[in-house]
């Protein structure tokens, strides 16, 4: 009896030790912990960059309109055929405003807490950047003519990423609710989006009321031009 008692406690001790060691070996991500005034200073800096970004983006849109208008004047003077080529490229690259029928998709966080109050990016009540990427990819696979998220025009090289609980589209902050507009064949796009096997995560979380996900057909959507930068300095044309 005494021996079995000692044996039981020895085994329990070993098990506890194993779990303790295992625990210390777990590489759980550590949350950063700053003094509050330092965090405040960082947030102020962040806000100043965001304010600057919105100013710069609106300036880009205005300058692109100015370029467009100057090009029209050149065309009327010279009757150059290059102008139509240029317009074709602009349409391909998302530099022309698009209007037409399509879908408006709204995906929103659960409403128990605000996004700022949640510290854990993997919170199932939060819309993830990967959710937005999957929806945009499905729309693109359904041959959408133009897509935007919260008025940010999406082009092929638009990154959709996240930093902590913040979602960035074209490296610009966007906040929930996320409204995705897509111009194109509404029925085809709707058929893809309603297929639960193509968006399993989103439908599973919606079923548990973790997130909101609504789709509406729209007749007159307007999607503005891409307002980011287009860099091609590493690209060289192959001469034929």
């Amino acid at each position: 009896m005494k021996r079995s008692f000692v044996f039981t406690f020895m085994m329990t001790g070993l098990l506890a030790g194993t779990l303790l060691t295992w625990q210390f070996l777990s590489k759980a991500p550590l949350e950063l912990n700053f003094p509050s005034d330092e965090v405040k200073a960082k947030e102020d800096l962040l806000k100043s960059y965001l304010d600057e970004q919105s100013y710069l983006m609106s300036k880009i849109v205005s300058l692109r309109k100015e370029v467009e208008s100057a090009q029209e004047k050149v065309e009327s003077r010279t009757q150059t055929s290059n102008f139509s080529v240029l317009e074709g490229f602009k349409k391909d690259l998302g530099l022309i405003e698009m209007t037409g029928p399509g879908l408006e998709i709204t995906i929103d966080d659960g409403h128990l807490l605000t996004r700022a109050e949640r510290t854990e990016p993997s919170d199932t009540n939060l819309v993830q950047a990967s959710d937005l990427r999957d929806i945009v990819n499905l729309l693109s696979a359904a041959k959408a003519d133009a897509i935007s998220i919260n008025d940010q025009r999406i082009i092929a090289n638009s990154p959709i990423s996240s930093v902590g609980t913040t979602i960035l589209v074209n490296n610009s902050h966007i906040s929930p609710p996320f409204v995705i507009n897509a111009i194109g064949d509404s029925d085809l796009m709707l058929q893809r989006l309603l297929n639960k096997t193509l968006l399993p995560d989103i439908y599973a979380r919606r079923a548990k009321s973790n997130i909101g996900f609504e789709i509406a057909k729209k007749s007159g959507l307007i999607i503005g031009i891409y307002n980011g930068d287009l860099k091609s300095n590493y690209l060289n044309l192959v001469k034929k």
Partner: protein, 207 residues
């Protein structure tokens, strides 16, 4: 004696269950690293914004220069030609070449991770990306999954090994893709048996 033994057993069991709960919580946190999106902090957020604003300022400077040239009769046609050349490179309507990285993914892979890989490359500054020879541009139909799990891109079925090319600043692309917590790191956790490789190249051509 019996009472002491009971207290001892109760205390041990409590301690043990305490460890079990802590351990389960740790697993939850570890599993988070397998998420499709990387975790980052306010420093990275500020860094990204700062770089983005620099890029936007550079774009503004280019556009102001274009407006100036277009308003100058002698330079206007040249400005239009320059813009057409730039858009030709970006639109995917002509073959392009440049430095960058080539990645190979050999083994099991899935559509969501392919979407993430392409996204990560553009996020790291790639100016052109192709998957198994198909360049990703605005007119490319997105990725799709066939019933047997194969990946479809622009109407073509992709098969392993997948080759992903990206043109851009090669060193930056290489380091960001391979960084701890980066896409390769997350991908290796999601598909442990899949072999991945990345190399920098002086010249990559995309047709």
């Amino acid at each position: 004696m019996i009472l002491e033994r009971k207290i001892l057993i109760l205390g041990t069991a409590t301690l043990l269950s305490f460890f079990v709960v802590i351990q389960i919580n740790s697993f939850d946190n570890v599993n988070d690293t397998l998420q499709r999106d990387s975790k980052s902090n306010i420093f990275q957020e500020i860094k990204i914004l700062k770089e983005k604003n620099e890029d936007l300022k550079s774009e503004i400077s280019d556009l102001e220069s274009a407006v100036g040239q277009l308003n100058d009769q002698g330079k206007a046609l040249n400005a239009i030609q320059e813009e057409i050349t730039e858009y030709t490179k970006l639109s995917g309507k002509a073959s392009v070449f440049g430095p960058g990285v080539t990645m190979t993914i050999d083994g099991k892979f899935s559509t969501p991770w392919m979407i993430d890989m392409v996204n990560e490359l553009f996020n790291s500054g790639a100016q052109a990306v192709s998957v198994n020879g198909i360049r990703i541009v605005n007119q490319t139909a997105g990725f799709d999954t066939l019933p047997k799990g194969q990946i479809l891109l622009n109407g073509s079925v992709l098969s392993s090994p997948y080759t992903v090319n990206a043109i851009g600043e090669a060193t930056t692309l290489f380091s960001l893709i391979q960084s701890p917590g980066g896409i390769f790191d997350r991908l290796k956790k999601a598909f442990p048996a899949t072999k991945t490789n990345i190399t920098t190249k002086d010249i990559i051509q995309m047709d």
